[in-house]
C-alpha cells in the first residue's frame, strides 16, 4: 500500500457544463480501485501550454490517495477509456512526505533568494557564455552609423 499523487487534466468545456459529472468519472474510478481518498480538489482551470486532443484549455484536478500497487495499472487502464480525462499523471509520493491537508502550491524559492546576477530577469538562450572565447567584443567596430548620414536624395521638389 502506497500513497499516490494523481493529477487529472479534464476537458474544460465539459467541466464548465457539468462539473460534478466530469469529476465523478475520476472519483468513481479512484473509489473503485483505491482504499483511501485523502484529498481531492480542483486545482486550476488554465490555458494549456500546447493543445491536447484539440483542446486549448483544461481543468486540473488533484487527488492524493492510497492504493495497492496492483490497482494503479487498473486505474490507468480505466482512465484511458474516458473521454472527459484528457491526460493524467499518477506518481508515487515519497514515504517521508506527508499528505497535505489543503491544496497549496507555494513557490519553493523566494524572489529575494534568487541569486541570479544582474538583478533583472534574463530571458535569453543558454548560450551566452560562448561569446567570451572569441574576444571580439571590444574591437571597436560598433555598427552604429558613424556620422556620415550625408545628403542623400533631397527630393523636396516637384510640388507646384
Amino acid at each position: 500500500m502506497r500513497t499516490y499523487e494523481g493529477m487529472f487534466l479534464l476537458d474544460s468545456g465539459q467541466a464548465v457544463k457539468d462539473w460534478d459529472a466530469t469529476v465523478g468519472v475520476v472519483i468513481g474510478v479512484l473509489e473503485r480501485y483505491c482504499t483511501e481518498l485523502a484529498l481531492n480538489v480542483k486545482w486550476e482551470d488554465r490555458k494549456l501550454s500546447y493543445p491536447i486532443k484539440k483542446q486549448k484549455r483544461g481543468t486540473y484536478y488533484l487527488a492524493y490517495f492510497k492504493a495497492p500497487t496492483e490497482a494503479i495499472a487498473q486505474v490507468r487502464a480505466d482512465l484511458l477509456l474516458r473521454e472527459e480525462v484528457l491526460r493524467f499523471l499518477i506518481l508515487a509520493r515519497p514515504e517521508d512526505l506527508p499528505i497535505p491537508e489543503t491544496l497549496e502550491v507555494t513557490t519553493m524559492i523566494d524572489d529575494e533568494d534568487d541569486d541570479r546576477r544582474g538583478g533583472g530577469r534574463r530571458r535569453r538562450d543558454d548560450r551566452g557564455s560562448r561569446r567570451s572565447g572569441g574576444g571580439r567584443d571590444d574591437s571597436g567596430d560598433d555598427d552604429d552609423n558613424d556620422g556620415d548620414d550625408g545628403d542623400d536624395g533631397d527630393d523636396d521638389g516637384g510640388e507646384d
Partner: protein, 78 residues
C-alpha cells in the same frame, strides 16, 4: 573552474538555491520556480547557469518533464 567557487564565496552563500531553501523534493507543480530556471524557449538551465547541486538538478529535470507532460510548461515555446 575556480571562477564559480570564488563567486559564491564572495556572496557568502551555498551553491544550490534549493539546498539553501532546504527543499527536500522539487515540486513539479510549482511552475513559477520551474519557469524561472528555464529559458524563454522552455529549455532547462544547465547546472553551470542555475547553480543547482547534482541532486536538485536531477529532481528539477524530472519535475520539468512532469510539468511538460501535463502541459503546464511547453516542450518548445515559440
Amino acid at each position: 573552474m575556480a571562477y564559480g567557487k570564488r563567486r559564491f564565496q564572495k556572496y557568502g552563500r551555498g551553491r544550490c538555491r534549493f539546498s539553501r531553501a532546504k527543499v527536500k523534493y522539487v515540486d513539479w507543480k510549482d511552475i513559477q520556480t520551474l519557469s524561472r530556471l528555464s529559458t524563454g524557449q522552455g529549455k532547462m538551465f544547465s547546472r553551470k547557469r542555475s547553480g543547482n547541486c547534482a541532486r536538485h538538478q536531477r529532481q528539477f529535470k524530472a519535475a520539468i518533464k512532469y510539468a511538460r507532460f501535463m502541459a503546464l510548461m511547453p516542450y518548445v515555446a515559440r
